[in-house]
């Protein structure tokens, strides 16, 4: 209950932003707010993995891309040529297929968005299990490089496969009708609706993760981060918990990918790029690693600014710089900076160094 109450102010802010933009005739901001919310969904999942379970992942754009690309491909690529194969027949008999027409009037047979969403997320989860079992045995540099390698493989695969549209990506992804009258799409008329869908999803995700952190599982995860050996000796199956967290964060990333792809009506290979993964890590770091609220706040602010084009052609450079500066001066996140204390410490340190040299 307490957790729900802590979400309330955020809910007020969300509604407030909507009212403010509609009052000031700046509703176009809602588009970037919607997209930022989806990216932030991935970021809070990554925050649990990095901050609480202590595992770095430089491949989370890969999971986002698995979600986005699979749901895009399944809902746009016609299955008519494979109509007689067993998997297609199974999908059909389960009612997961949808007949329609493409732009040129040719008939299409595609997977329904709901079924595609579930397939995409389940695939992401399965891949996370398969990758996670060996990868999470590694530590430090090795873990970073292995996850980076995973991310690059996904990027190469989408870039090289015709099925995923190569360098062009997949476009004309249909709307995702969640409930009658409620659909995820980029239609102008659905903008407000989509703003609330995205934020609703993010708030639900946030409540779930806050619940998780304040529970037996969350304490075990924080314990692993504090001292893996001691957590092990307390009966915590550390390997299993790390894997489950990895899968959980991959699922969050994949769901974000599915929704954002339907919202944008398409997805391109840059979403799978290494730079995206690094950017997510940067945002979690700025937010303070083990700080869900910090990750959420920074996820919204930085993604919003980036999507508004505030950083111009220095977009990636800004995130690179943020990474370095945060890690150099405030490894516990930007919210932890106590300016006066920091200044004093810096001056004090310099004095000490000079004394040391003498």
């Amino acid at each position: 209950m307490k957790k729900l109450l802590s979400i309330l102010p955020l809910l007020v802010v969300v509604i407030g932003v909507h009212l403010l933009t509609s009052a000031t005739d700046t509703m176009y901001y809602l588009t970037q707010m919607t997209m930022s919310a989806y990216y932030s969904l991935l970021i809070i999942g990554l925050c649990v993995l990095m901050g609480y379970a202590g595992q770095i992942s430089l491949g989370h754009a890969g999971f986002f891309a698995i979600g986005g690309y699979l749901s895009a491909a399944l809902t746009t690529r016609s299955l008519i040529p494979y109509q007689d194969t067993l998997p297609v027949k199974l999908l059909d008999s389960a009612g997961f297929l949808l007949a329609g027409q493409d732009l040129y009037g040719d008939s299409l047979l595609v997977v329904t968005p709901w079924a595609a969403c579930i397939l995409a997320v389940v695939t992401a989860a399965l891949i996370a299990v398969a990758i996670g079992i060996p990868v999470l045995k590694l530590k430090g540099h090795y873990l970073a490089m292995a996850t980076l390698g995973f991310g690059i493989i996904i990027y190469r695969v989408v870039l090289a496969s015709e099925y995923f549209g190569e360098a062009d990506g997949i476009s004309e992804v249909p709307a995702f009708v969640l409930l009658p009258g409620l659909s995820v799409s980029g239609n102008f008329g659905d903008r407000v609706q989509n703003y609330y869908i995205a934020w609703g999803l993010l708030l639900i995700g946030m409540v779930l993760l806050l619940n998780l952190m304040d529970s037996r599982v969350g304490r075990a995860l924080r314990g692993i981060h504090g001292s893996e050996e001691a957590a092990d000796a307390m009966g915590v199956n550390t390997a299993r918990f790390k894997l489950q967290t990895f899968v959980l964060s991959a699922v969050f990333a994949a769901i974000a990918g599915v929704f954002l792809t339907h919202y944008n009506g398409g997805i391109g290979p840059s979403e799978a790029g290494v730079m995206k993964s690094v950017r997510y890590v940067a945002i979690v770091a700025v937010g303070g690693m083990a700080n869900l609220w910090g990750a959420l706040l920074m996820g919204i602010v930085l993604n919003f600014l980036s999507l508004r084009g505030s950083f111009g052609s220095y977009d990636d450079a800004v995130f690179g710089l943020i990474l370095i500066l945060i890690m150099l001066f405030a490894p516990n996140g930007i919210l932890s900076i106590n300016v006066r204390y920091r200044l004093g410490q810096l001056l004090g340190r310099n004095k000490q160094d000079r004394e040391g040299e003498m």
Binding site: G54, I56, L58, P134, V135, K137, L138, K139, G140, H141, Y142, A144, M145, A146, L148, G149, F150, I152, I153, R156, V157, L159, A160, V274, M275, V278, V281, A282, A285, S313, Y314, D316, A317, F319, G320, L321, I322, L323, I324, M327, L328, P331, D353
Partner: protein
Amino acid sequence: MTLELSIQYLMAGITYGSIYAIVAIGFNIIYNTTGIINFAQGEFVMFGGMIAITLLNFMPLPLAIFLAVVITMFIGALIEICFIRWLKSPSVLRMIIITIGISILSREVAVHIWGESIRSLPYFVGNEITSIPILGARISPQVMWVVLVSALMVVCLGLFFKTTSVGREMRACASNRKAATLCGINTRNMVTLSFVLSAGIGALAGCIMSPITYSQYDMGTGLAIKGFTVAILGGLGSSGGAVVAGLLLGVIEAFSVSVVPLAFQDAISIAILLGILFIRPQGLFGSKEAAGLKEY
């Protein structure tokens, strides 16, 4: 596969392999003195090539390459002094993130200076179509340059570490930093020096490979992953291992062209990396006993 084609592939493999080995040795030099994997290692290679290409407008090729290497060494020193030197026992995670940040920043600086276009240095001797026939295959003389200069670098580095007093101090620093400090060695300067050295060999590699593989602002990440694969494959910290592993990876990659589509070529080395990390993180030649003492 005909003999000529095989030799063609083999030579291509050796060319790329030499570059990978040099990048891996760059990783090793910094790893040995600091325990850090420098994710920005590939950017040194990129800087070397790009700077030389620009300088070529004003001066002859040998001088341009020489100056490019010197400038990149300077950049290496600058990076170490600005971002690494004054951190007190930072965590591994922190160092990883910082060097990744440096890598991105370097790439962005490069794209704003040179743009996204693909450039290259001219062939050191002759041009694209000059070739030397070897056993029926036609091999570009630039391949010889790559192989010879790389070999020379490895030999010179070996001599540097074995015979000069600075080299010996660096090795002392590598085997036990605290003890080295107690012996009066300025370990901080050794760390800076390791960045300078690895920037230098990276830059030189960037120059000699540029005519064949071209230079572009974003070439660093791919090279870093491959260099790291080689460094791990050869056993992290071992130069001899890096040479063997580099050539091995280069040759495997070259021959895989006949089996795997070009677009998936990068995926092969990454698959090898993942495989080796999972099965034998101590590398092909490292001992299991010694590896048990390290943290993977």
